[in-house]
């Protein structure tokens, strides 16, 4: 325990494991209290997933990961971007419309569409950023409003550009050309479905997030602003510009959230496009403590629970929404466990600092005595 690195590692691993057990126990209690089949629920939730489901877990985690990273960029700056939901909707829609036009061939179409999504998401976020910087409107409230406005705006535009296919009641943007559809990778042996090709996107984003935040000047400025705005100002960070930049960055990343879905699965933006990813992203970013690797684990866990819960109704006769309770409890348990370990950590650190200072002092006094 004396080595701070070993200590940190043990504490940060111990907390989530403890939390998972607590969540397990609490959920079981709830189930028992209401007379639901505890055994069946856990058998369903914890059964080894089929290869097909593993693919789903990974795919689900990819989009959740992107969403959580977008949220985390804001958190690092003490900005609470509830607006990822609206930003990714705007971004996905813009990219879908663009890619559907097939102005560019194959991969190029994808790359430019991704940029379009980032620009659209970023622009949408820039409204909240502008209001915060220039008008002092809390980003919490402006992004809540902007989410709803994005919903209306995108629906309206969707109706304008939608194509109807014969016999279908769904509407969507023009389907992107075959050459720009990504088939995915057969990463999971034995699975009939494939992992989104844009897994790469998540990996790149995760790496860049880590690299930019911890290795660059910009990242330092951003973190400094998040941890003390006043100190950042005095150190020469232009905070307003920083708020603008990071909020727009967060929005641009949010724009990416729909890309794996768009190119790897739905091939158009329509009424059945997955919703609510922004909110899940908040939970996952918090669970992963805004750390790129932590978020990856959190996203996988979240997605695993989502996927496994699908069978709850069929196999255990319990509403699949039970998984929300489990996820919420895990979130609570993890943060409480982290808080516990944080307190422990501080105490240990203080003891260590005090011990070392004492020995330094002792050394000095003996030195002084010798001289």
């Amino acid at each position: 325990m004396s080595n701070p690195l070993v200590r940190k590692l043990m504490l940060s691993l111990g907390a989530p494991i403890l939390a998972l057990f607590v969540a397990f126990a609490l959920t079981s209690l709830v189930l028992m209290a209401l007379g639901d089949p505890v055994r069946d629920v856990w058998i369903t939730m914890l059964s080894t997933p089929k290869p097909r489901m593993i693919t789903n877990v990974v795919n689900g985690a990819i989009v959740l990961y992107l969403s959580a990273i977008a949220v985390a960029v804001g958190f690092k700056m003490n900005l609470f971007n509830i607006g990822v939901d609206g930003q990714y909707r705007v971004g996905s829609f813009a990219a879908a419309v663009f890619a559907g036009q097939a102005w560019l061939p194959g991969i190029l179409n994808i790359l430019v569409a991704i940029i379009v999504a980032m620009v659209a998401g970023g622009l949408w976020a820039s409204i909240a950023a502008y209001l915060k910087v220039q008008r002092g409107v809390s980003e919490v409230i402006s992004t809540i409003m902007l989410n709803a406005i994005a919903t209306g705006l995108v629906s309206w535009l969707l109706l304008k550009v939608a194509v109807r296919t014969a016999g279908s009641n769904a509407i969507g943007t023009k389907v992107i050309p075959e050459s720009s559809q990504l088939e995915g990778w057969k990463l999971i042996p034995g699975a009939s479905n494939r992992v989104y090709s844009l897994l790469i996107l998540a990996v790149i984003v995760g790496f860049l997030y880590w690299f930019v935040l911890s290795k660059t000047r910009f990242g330092f400025d951003l973190r400094a602003t998040g941890s003390s705005e006043t100190a950042a100002v005095a150190s020469g960070v232009k905070v307003k510009r920083m708020v603008m930049t990071s909020m727009i960055l967060s929005g641009a990343l949010a724009g990416l959230v729909g890309m794996p879905l768009l190119f790897g699965q739905d091939h158009s933006y329509g009424t059945t496009f997955q919703a609510g990813l922004g909110f899940a992203g908040i939970g996952i970013a918090l669970l992963g403590r805004n750390h790129p690797v932590g978020i990856a684990f959190a996203a996988l866990l979240w997605s695993y629970l989502d996927t496994q819960a699908n069978g709850l109704q069929i196999r255990a006769g319990v509403a699949p929404e039970l998984v929300y309770i489990i996820q919420g409890i895990i979130l609570f348990a993890v943060v409480i466990a982290y808080e516990g370990t944080r307190r422990l950590d501080i105490r240990l650190e203080q003891q260590r600092v005090a011990r070392e200072l004492a020995s330094q002092r002792a050394a000095r006094t003996t030195e002084g005595a010798a001289a």
Binding site: N59, S155, L159, T271, T272, A275
Partner: protein, 346 residues
């Protein structure tokens, strides 16, 4: 290959239903006969108990279950879920050994198409979709001419209205619901070209809360009644309850949707329901299952329109005069004959 799979399946089910009478007596748990057909129903968001669309599908299945002694289960979609989740739900049903899987709602189109292809031995049905996405040798596409039924209730509204002003409340602004509105408008205008029709959608996709927010339904309908409308038609699922409440308070008429809501709605408001536009999802589901039990191949698109009585209007409570009903029957005949073509978009 698919064909042979189907025929093999067919023969076994036929055998099963051939011996129904004898097995039914011996089975102790239920009086219904047993069948090898195992039915899995995948609901849209809202699921069983929405007193609307999903419930109608459930009713069809329950009826078939009771009649043919089927083993059934169902699973409900989660709000805002991913395509993969829908696929997974169907796959889980396949894995659990269900032979006939019914997907309720157009959202399932792509998933049904995909999972049906991967599982040629399993039979699928999808409601409200007839697109290429869900097409397959083992897929029955059950669709409805909602606009035709809506045309008739629109005509009924125009015939009954004293103010020449009626309304429409849609749950969520999706093309399916627009179909209802389009038919309703056409029907009302056919009777009275100058009629004033208010229209409101409660929410925009992907916010589907408009199908479950009675407060909003009530507010929207109130606005119409107080603005002078005396009849409001809703295609808003659970939010319709609010429309009925508003009608009751305003002493106006309301028109129900999907099922005969003068029978299913809350007791207190049944007397304000002029008629309901019937979309016989229950019949479609029952028919499909009946065919399955008999071993007939049900694949392909079946359109439930006025001609086959797949849509229609209800007369429970006798709120419409014989005169009105006669006129409606007249329109109905014209639609069936093709003389009137009802639009399905605005």
């Amino acid at each position: 290959a698919c064909g042979s799979g189907t025929s093999k399946e067919t023969s076994t089910t036929t055998a099963g239903s051939g011996t129904t009478s004898s097995t039914s007596e011996s089975s102790s748990t239920s009086e219904a006969p047993k069948s090898d057909v195992k039915v899995g129903l995948a609901f849209d968001v809202g699921g069983r108990g929405d007193q609307s669309f999903n419930d109608a599908a459930a009713a069809g299945m329950d009826k078939a279950k009771a009649e043919f002694g089927l083993e059934t289960t169902d699973a409900t979609a989660v709000n805002g879920e991913n395509e993969a989740a829908r696929e997974e739900r169907l796959n889980q049903l396949v894995d659990a050994g269900y032979t006939n899987i019914i997907a309720v709602g157009f959202a399932y189109a792509a998933s049904v198409g995909k999972v049906a292809k991967e599982n040629p031995d399993v039979h699928f049905a999808i409601i409200d979709d007839a697109s290429d996405a869900s097409k397959g040798d083992n897929v029955a596409q059950l669709t409805f001419a909602e606009q035709e039924g809506s045309f008739l209730v629109g005509a009924a509204a125009a015939l009954t209205s004293k103010t020449g002003h009626i309304g429409f409340v849609g749950g969520v602004n999706v093309p399916l619901i627009v179909k209802f509105e389009a038919g309703y408008d056409a029907g009302a205008k056919a009777v009275n070209p100058d009629i004033k029709i208010d229209s409101t959608y409660l929410t925009q996709p992907p916010d589907f809360s408009g199908f479950g927010d009675p407060a909003k339904g009530k507010t929207a309908a109130e606005g119409m009644y107080q603005g002078g409308a005396d009849i409001v038609y809703h295609a808003a699922g659970g939010s319709g309850a609010g429309v009925f409440t508003a009608a009751k308070a305003a002493k106006g008429w309301a028109i129900g949707v999907d099922s005969d809501q003068a029978k299913t709605a809350e007791e207190g408001v049944r007397d304000v329901i002029l008629t309901s536009m019937l979309k016989k999802v229950d019949v479609a589901v029952y028919d499909y299952l009946a065919k399955a039990v008999k071993g007939e191949n049900a694949a392909g698109n079946v359109i439930y329109d006025l001609k086959v009585d797949g849509v229609g209007y209800s007369t429970t409570g006798d709120k419409m005069s014989a005169d009105v009903i006669a006129k409606l029957e007249d329109y109905k005949a014209k639609i069936v004959s093709g003389e009137i073509k009802v639009p399905d978009t605005k």
